[in-house]
Subunit: 128 residues, 2 copies
DNA sequence: ACCAGTCTCCTACGTTTGTAGTAGATATCA
DNA sequence: TGATATCTACTACAAACGTAGGAGACTGGT
């Protein structure tokens, strides 16, 4: 149970916490675009479930409202998402990148930036 | 309903069809690694549901067994998966690539290959 | 001290997913 | 042509997800 798989709605809730920091249910609910914003209790239910999954935790109480904060980092969640995706591509990232390129989502600049990043990281690696 | 979101198990079934072509339920089931292979009827149920979702269709009958084939391409499914992932990253692919690089999944070779692909595609683009 | 507003906690319910059993139809082989 | 294996079609059910209502507790203002 190291890291639960999060659904779209759950991720939206986590996103509110990652973006605005510790929040009440009301604040999380209001982070949804007013068009298609779930009912207060809907958000509350999901918040409770995320808490049960240890993805978030209550940190304090303001007035009569509980304040929640993320217990898993956005980074870890992102890694999980990407790993899940990769597993479908046989673990090889290259096809994913190829897709991004082919659909025009990944530009030459993006790729060159990635290349710089690799060089920088590999330099650091050497010094380890 | 253009393209249903497929779950992990559903994707594994689609994968069998994409890889081995039109298959019977039995053949799909046997494409699963013998370790944790779902029961025949489990696969059958999922196959029926995929059929209801128009992701696959029956093409013929051999003996008393129906033969199914994918009705959506692997490519389309992959695009869908990637698009869903991207939507979580605000639609920007760069953070995804950065993640791949940081976790060491994307090598310098991969990136350079992507770069070549971009150049080739952009050349084709010009001639359009 | 009371009332309106807000929040919590509990309950509920429909849908989707994963899992599988059973009954009856069908095919195949001796 | 009858026994055996295999399939289909149907049914079932638990867990997860999305959605939300209602009862009662708490709080802040007057």
């Amino acid at each position: 149970m190291a890291f639960p798989r999060l659904t779209k709605l759950e991720l939206q809730i986590m996103d509110a916490l990652w973006s605005q920091g510790a929040s009440s249910v009301r604040e999380i609910q209001e982070a949804f675009p007013e068009k298609d914003r779930p009912a207060y209790t809907t958000v509350q239910t999901m918040v409770y479930r995320l808490e049960a999954k240890k993805a978030i935790r209550r940190v304090k109480k303001i007035g009569n409202a509980h304040i929640f904060e993320a217990a898993v980092s956005r980074n870890a969640a992102q890694r999980r998402l990407i790993d899940d995706l990769l597993s479908f591509f046989g673990g090889r990232p290259q096809p994913v990148v190829a897709h991004l390129v082919e659909t025009g989502k990944l530009t030459l600049d993006d790729v060159q930036e990635a290349e710089q990043l690799i060089r920088k990281l590999s330099k650091k690696e050497k010094g380890r």
